[in-house]
Amino acid sequence: MSSIIVVGMNHKTAPVEVREQLALACREHVNPLRLLPHLDHVDELYYLSTCNRVEFLFTCQCRDEALREVGFLLNKHLGNPSTADLASYVYTHEGLEAVVHLFRVASSLDSMVVGEPQILGQIKSAYREATECRTVGVILNRLLHKAFSVAKRVRSETSIGSHAVSISYAAVELARKIFGTLEEKRVLLVGAGEMVELAAEHFLSHGVRHMTVANRTLERAIDLARQFKANTVSFEHILDTLKNVDIVLSSTGSPEPILRYQDVRSRMRERRNRPIFFIDIAVPRDVDPRINQIDNVYLYDIDDLQGIIDLNRDQRKKEAERAEHIVAEEALKFVTWLHTLDVVPTIVALKNKAEAIRLGELRRTFSQLPHLTDRDRESLELLTRSIVKKLLHDPIVFLKKKAERESRQTFADFTQQLFNLEDGTGICGSSLTEGQVDVKRIK
C-alpha cells in the first residue's frame, strides 16, 4: 500500500540560515526532482521551496527505506550537519497527517501571515515543475488538485483572506470605505520606492485608472509611471495637483513635511469639499498630522495602518478555526479515496488473469476449428468476453465496496489467494503472508 509522507522545514522549525541553505542547494546544485530516478524507494515526488518553507512530499511503498533516502538527500544538500541538528529542524508527517499538512499550507493556515494569498500560487508553480519533470503520478496529482480546491473553498467560505494584513491592502480597504468604488478616482503617488510600487499595484487591481507619480528623481518617476500607465508631475507642482486627486500616497525620504496644514486647507474650497485621503507611509512623516482635522480630509500614517493590521489579525484567527474544520473534513475524504487504491492492483491482476485465460483458450479453440468463418470467430470472441465480464463483475464490486473499510487488505489478499494471482500489492514483502494469517483467523 502506498503511503504519503511530507518531510520539510518551515519558519517555525528551522532558522532562516538553514532554510536558505537548503533552498539554495536545491536550486543551484541538484534539483531534487531530477534525483527521483536515484531514489529507489520513492514513487512520486513533489518539492516546494518558498522563503518560509522547504518541503518534500512523496509517496512510497516502504516508508523506512524511503525516509532514509530522503533524509540522506537532505543531509547532503545541507552539507552534512549532525543528525541531531537535522532532526530538530525537520518535521515528518505521514498519511492523514501529511494530507492535512498540505491542505493547511495551501489554504495559508500554516503561513507566517495567516491568510496571505501568495502561497497557493507558489504551490501551483511547484506542482507545474513537478509535472514537467514527470515526478508526480496518480496519487500526488489528485492530492495537489484537491489541495487547490480546498484552498479555494477555504477562501470562499471563510473570510480568512478578507482582512487586510499588509499596509497597502489596509490602505486600499480604507479608501473603499471613504469613496465606495475607486474606479473613477485619481491617485497621486509621491515618491517612487518599493512601498509606493506595492500600493500602486493594489490600487490598480481595484480599478484605479488615473495615477500620477511625483518623485525628486525624474527617471525613477518615469519608470514607475510606465509600469502603471501613469502620468508624472514634477515635485514642485504637487500642491497644484491637490485640486484634482482623491488619494495621495506619500513615501519619500524627506526630513521635512511635504504637505502642510495650510496647503491643504486652502485648497478644499477649490475642490468643492470633495473628500481627499492622504496615506503617509513615510518615516519621518511627509504630511502634517493636523490636516486630519480638516473636514472631508482623512489622513492615515504608518502607525494607524499598523493598528488596523493588528486588529484584523485577531479577526483572522477566528476565521482560521473555521478553515481548519474544512481542511480536516477534506483530508478525511481524500484518505478514504486513497484507501480505495489499495484494492486496485488486485482488481487489475484479476482482470489480467481472466483475460489471459480467455485469450489462451480462444486461441486453442480456433486452432482446433479452422473451418470457422470470421463472423463465427467474432461471435465466439464476444461470447467469451461477456462470460468473463459477468463472472468478474460481482467480485470486483465486492472489492471496491470493501475498499473503504479497514479490513480491505484482508479481502485483497484473500482474493489474490483465491484466484492465485501473482501481481499483488505487497512489493514490500509481507502483506501476502500477513493476509494468510488473517485468513486463518477468519476461518
Partner: protein, 273 residues
C-alpha cells in the same frame, strides 16, 4: 376593525425592526429579506386601516396628532421600502425601522380626538398639501438616518477606532449620496406642500400668512433645507456638515409637526388637536 389592523401593523413594524437590528449585527441576507417582507405586510395592514378610518371620517385621517403621527409612520416605512428596492442600501432599514416603531408607539400615547366634520377638509388641496408634506418629511427622515450613519462612520475613520459597525456601514460617499438624493427629491415636495397650504389658507382665511406658530416653524424648516441644498449645489457642502444639517432639519420637522400641535396654540389647532 381598523384598530385591529393598526395593532397588526404595529406588531409587524416591531418584528421587522427586530429583524433589521439582527441584520445590523449579522450579515445574513435571509434576515434582511424576511424583515423587508414583514414591513411590507405591516404597510398593507396599516394602509387598509388608514383607508377605513378616512372613509369613516370622510376626510384624510390626519386631523389629530395621533393620527398624523401614525400616518407619518406609514409614509416613512413605505418610502423606505421603495428606496430600498431602488438604492439597495439594506443597512438603512436598521436605522429607519426603529423610527417607525417609535412613531407608532408615540401615536398611541397622544390624544386622539375626533373633531367635528367640516367641509374644509374635503378639498383636494388638503389631500395634496398633506401627501406632499408627509412624503417630504419621510424623505427627510431617511436623510436624517443616513446622516446619523454618516457621522458614525466618519467617526470611525477620522478617529481610527473601528467598532463593529465599521464593517457593516457603507462607504461615506454612499451615505452622502443618499443624503443628497433625499434632499433633492424632498425639498421640491416640501415646497409644493407649503405653497398649496398657503394658497388654501389664503382661500379660506382670507390671508395666506397668519403668524401661526406652525407656519413660522414650517418656514424656518424650509429655509434650513433651502440653505443646505443651496450650499450643496454651489459651494459643494457635503459630508459631516451636510449630515448635521440633515439631522438638524429633521429635528425642526418634528418640532413643527408635533411640538406645535401639542404645546402651542394657533390657527392649525383649529383642526389639528
Amino acid at each position: 376593525m381598523e384598530s385591529v389592523f393598526l395593532v397588526i401593523a404595529t406588531l409587524c413594524y416591531c418584528l421587522g425592526t427586530v429583524g433589521y437590528l439582527i441584520y445590523l449585527v449579522r450579515d445574513w441576507t435571509p434576515v434582511h429579506r424576511t424583515s423587508w417582507w414583514i414591513l411590507f405586510i405591516g404597510v398593507i395592514f396599516h394602509g387598509i386601516s388608514f383607508a377605513l378610518r378616512s372613509f369613516q371620517e370622510e376626510h384624510l385621517a390626519v386631523t389629530s396628532s395621533a393620527e398624523a403621527l401614525s400616518f407619518f409612520a406609514l409614509v416613512l416605512v413605505s418610502t423606505y421600502l421603495i428606496v430600498q428596492v431602488r438604492l439597495q442600501l439594506r443597512i438603512l432599514g436598521s436605522f429607519v425601522s426603529p423610527l417607525a416603531v417609535i412613531f407608532m408607539l408615540a401615536s398611541t400615547l397622544l390624544p386622539s380626538h375626533i373633531i367635528p366634520k367640516s367641509g374644509i377638509f374635503q378639498s383636494g388641496w388638503v389631500v395634496l398639501h398633506v401627501s406632499t408634506l408627509f412624503l417630504a418629511n419621510a424623505l427627510f427622515a431617511l436623510a436624517f438616518s443616513a446622516g446619523v450613519m454618516y457621522l458614525l462612520q466618519e467617526r470611525h475613520i477620522k478617529h481610527k477606532s473601528f467598532g463593529y459597525l465599521y464593517n457593516r456601514l457603507p462607504s461615506l460617499d454612499r451615505l452622502d449620496t443618499i443624503n443628497y438624493f433625499c434632499l433633492i427629491i424632498g425639498f421640491p415636495l416640501m415646497t409644493v406642500g407649503l405653497v398649496v397650504g398657503f394658497a388654501y389658507a389664503g382661500n379660506i382665511w382670507r390671508s395666506p400668512w397668519n403668524w401661526d406658530p406652525k407656519e413660522i416653524f414650517a418656514l424656518i424648516t424650509w429655509i434650513i433645507y433651502a440653505i443646505l441644498l443651496h450650499e450643496r449645489l454651489t459651494v459643494g457642502w457635503r459630508g459631516r456638515r451636510a449630515a448635521w444639517m440633515a439631522i438638524f432639519g429633521f429635528s425642526l420637522v418634528l418640532v413643527t409637526f408635533l411640538g406645535v400641535n401639542l404645546f402651542l396654540k394657533g390657527h392649525h389647532t383649529v383642526f389639528v388637536r
